[in-house]
C-alpha cells in the first residue's frame, strides 16, 4: 500500500488503521451532535404535547412550499456529496471537484431559502426578541413555538455554514490533487458530517412544517 507522503501520521502503523480511526472518531463526534440537537428535540416534544393548538397555528404561519423545497435541495446536495465520495474512491479528480462544487452550491441555496423564510417571518412580526407582534389565539405559546423554531433552525443553519466552509476547503484540496483512491479519508469524513446535517433537517421539516396543515 503506498503510504502517500505526509498522509500517514507517525503514531499509526498503517493507512488502513488511520482511516478506521478517523471515521470512528467522526462517528463519535456525530453521536455528540445527535445529543446536542437531542436536547432541543426534547423541549419540542414536551411543549408540543402541552400546547398542540399553539404549535399548529404557529406551524401554519410557516410556508410549506419553502420547507418542502429546502428539504429537496438538501437531499440533492447530500446525493452529490455521496457522488463526490464515490468519485474520490475511484480516483476521478475532476468529477470529485465538480460534485463538491455542486454540493456547496446547493448548500448555499438551502441557506438562501432558509434566510428568506426567516425574513418573511420577521416581516410578519413573528420573530421573538425582534418586536414579536402576534395577537390572535394564545400569543404566549405561539411565541414559545417560534422561539423553539428559530433556535433549532438557527443551530441547524450554523451547522450548514460550517459544512460549507469545510466542503470548500475539501474542494480546494481536491483541486490541488491531494486525494487519491488510497487516501481520501478527509472526503469521507466531511461526507459523514454533511449527511448528518441533512439528517437533522429530515426530522426538522416534518416536525415544524407538517403539524396541522389540514386546519389551514
Amino acid at each position: 500500500m503506498a503510504n502517500h507522503g505526509l498522509a500517514l501520521r507517525h503514531q499509526f502503523d498503517d493507512v488502513a488503521q488511520q482511516k478506521e480511526a478517523s471515521t470512528f472518531g467522526m462517528w463519535l463526534f456525530l453521536a455528540t451532535e445527535v445529543l446536542f440537537f437531542g436536547g432541543m428535540f426534547l423541549c419540542y416534544t414536551i411543549y408540543r404535547r402541552w400546547y398542540p393548538v399553539a404549535f399548529g397555528m404557529g406551524s401554519n404561519h410557516l410556508s410549506l412550499m419553502l420547507g418542502a423545497v429546502s428539504t429537496a435541495v438538501l437531499i440533492c446536495s447530500s446525493y452529490f456529496m455521496a457522488c463526490s465520495v464515490n468519485s474520490a474512491a475511484t480516483g476521478k479528480k475532476n468529477a470529485l471537484v465538480g460534485y463538491l462544487a455542486m454540493t456547496i452550491v446547493l448548500a448555499i441555496a438551502f441557506l438562501a431559502i432558509e434566510m428568506s423564510e426567516w425574513h418573511m417571518l420577521y416581516s410578519e412580526g413573528l420573530m421573538p426578541g425582534f418586536n414579536f407582534t402576534y395577537h390572535e389565539m394564545d400569543p404566549r405559546h405561539v411565541q414559545l413555538f417560534f422561539g423553539l423554531y428559530f433556535s433549532m433552525t438557527g443551530l441547524h443553519a450554523s451547522h450548514v455554514t460550517i459544512g460549507i466552509i469545510l466542503l470548500t476547503v475539501m474542494a480546494v484540496r481536491a483541486y490541488r490533487g491531494a486525494f487519491t483512491p488510497d487516501y481520501h479519508t478527509p472526503i469521507e469524513v466531511s461526507g459523514l458530517y454533511w449527511h448528518f446535517v441533512d439528517l437533522v433537517w429530515i426530522f426538522l421539516f416534518p416536525l415544524y412544517y407538517l403539524i396541522a396543515r389540514h386546519l389551514q
Binding site: 400546547y51 398542540p52 393548538v53 399553539a54 389565539m137 394564545d138 400569543p139 404566549r140 405559546h141
Partner: protein, 327 residues
C-alpha cells in the same frame, strides 16, 4: 426553641417521627459498612505489611461467591431503603382531607402566608396544634423552596404553578422556616418562623388579629369589581361559561381535550384565557395578565371554590366571616 447543642433535629410533626425511623436504619447501615471497610483496611495494612524488600505473594484468584455476596447484600439493604423511603415520601405527597388550607406566596426574599379567614402574615405562620395544615404555594418571580426542618417538610415553590406541602404538628412551639432553593441576593434573608399554638390560644390570636374579610369574600368583591360577575354568573348561555359549581369538575375544551377545573386551570384561564377555551364558546375573554396579583388570584380561586358549594352557601359574605371556619 432551646438552641443548645444538638445532634438530631427536633421532632415536631408526624412525618418527622416516621422519617426518623428511616434515618436510624440508614445510619445503622452506613455505620456498619464504614467501620467494616475502615477496620478491614487497617487490619490488612498492618497484618500484611511488607517485611522484606523482594517478598513474593501467593496470588489469590477472584472468588465468584464473594463477588455475588457483596453485590446482592448491599442491593437488598438498599431495596429496604428504597421501599421504606418511598413509603414515607408517598405519605408526604398526599395531604389528608381534613387539613386546614393555607396559601403561601413566595416573593424575592419574603414569604407571604394567607389564612382562609383572611389573616395575612409576612415570614410567619400561626397554626393550631392537632390539625394538619396543607400549604398551597406559588411564587411571584423565581423558584423558592418552603423548608421547615423540624417538620421534615420541604417543597419547591415555582412561578406560574401551584405546589403542595403539608405537615401535622404534634408539639406546640416556634420552628424555623427557611428558603431552600437559591433565589438571589437575600436568599439567606428569606427565613421566618412557624408558630404552633394550643387551639384556645390560636382562637384568641385569630380573633385578635386584623379583622380583614375572608379570602372568599375578598374574591367575591374582586369578581364584581373586575366585571367577571356580569358574564360568568349570568345564566344566559352562549356568552361565557357559568362558574357556579364548576370547581373540580372536568371541562370540555374546543380542542376536544377535557381538563379538570383545578387551581391551575382557573389561574391559567384568568391570565391566559385563549390557552384553554371551553367548548361551545368563543375566545373573547380579555387576558388579566399584569392586572391581577398572585394574592388576587388566590382570592378569586377561593371564591370560585366557594361557588362550587350548594346554593345555601350564597348567604351574604358578612355573616359567613363571623362564623369560625373549621371546614
Amino acid at each position: 426553641m432551646n438552641s443548645g447543642f444538638r445532634l438530631f433535629p427536633e421532632q415536631a410533626s408526624t412525618t418527622a417521627q416516621h422519617l426518623d425511623h428511616v434515618t436510624i436504619y440508614l445510619l445503622i447501615v452506613a455505620a456498619f459498612f464504614s467501620t467494616l471497610i475502615f477496620a478491614l483496611i487497617f487490619y490488612f495494612a498492618v497484618k500484611y505489611r511488607r517485611r522484606a524488600e523482594h517478598e513474593r505473594v501467593v496470588e489469590s484468584h477472584g472468588g465468584m461467591t464473594l463477588e455475588i455476596i457483596w453485590t446482592v447484600v448491599p442491593f437488598l439493604l438498599m431495596m429496604v431503603m428504597f421501599v421504606w423511603g418511598a413509603n414515607v415520601f408517598f405519605e408526604m405527597s398526599r395531604p389528608p382531607d381534613d387539613a386546614m388550607n393555607v396559601y403561601v406566596v413566595g416573593k424575592q426574599w419574603m414569604w407571604k402566608t394567607q389564612h382562609l379567614e383572611g389573616q395575612r402574615e409576612i415570614n410567619e405562620l400561626h397554626v393550631p396544634l392537632g390539625r394538619p395544615v396543607r400549604l398551597t404555594m406559588t411564587s411571584e418571580d423565581v423558584i423558592h423552596s418552603f423548608y421547615m426542618p423540624a417538620f421534615r417538610v420541604k417543597f419547591d415553590v415555582l412561578p406560574g404553578r401551584y405546589t403542595t406541602a403539608w405537615f401535622n404538628p404534634i408539639k406546640a412551639g416556634k420552628y424555623h422556616l427557611f428558603c431552600a432553593e437559591y433565589c438571589g441576593t437575600l436568599h439567606s434573608g428569606m427565613i421566618g418562623w412557624i408558630y404552633v399554638m394550643e387551639p384556645a390560644e390560636y382562637e384568641r390570636w385569630l380573633a385578635g388579629g386584623p379583622a380583614g374579610e375572608s379570602l372568599a369574600s375578598g374574591g367575591e368583591k374582586l369578581f364584581q369589581e373586575r366585571g367577571c360577575a356580569n358574564c360568568h354568573l349570568s345564566d344566559k348561555p352562549g356568552r361565557c361559561p357559568n362558574l357556579v359549581g364548576i370547581f373540580g369538575q372536568p371541562v370540555q375544551l374546543t380542542t376536544g381535550q377535557t381538563v379538570k377545573a383545578d387551581e391551575a386551570y382557573v389561574r391559567e384561564s384568568i391570565l391566559d384565557p385563549s390557552a384553554k377555551v371551553v367548548a361551545g364558546y368563543q375566545n373573547i375573554m380579555p387576558s388579566f395578565q399584569g392586572l391581577v396579583t398572585e394574592e388576587d388570584l388566590l382570592q378569586l380561586i377561593e371564591y370560585i371554590k366557594s361557588l362550587a358549594k350548594p346554593q345555601q352557601q350564597a348567604a351574604p359574605p358578612a355573616a359567613r366571616a363571623g362564623r369560625k371556619q373549621n371546614r
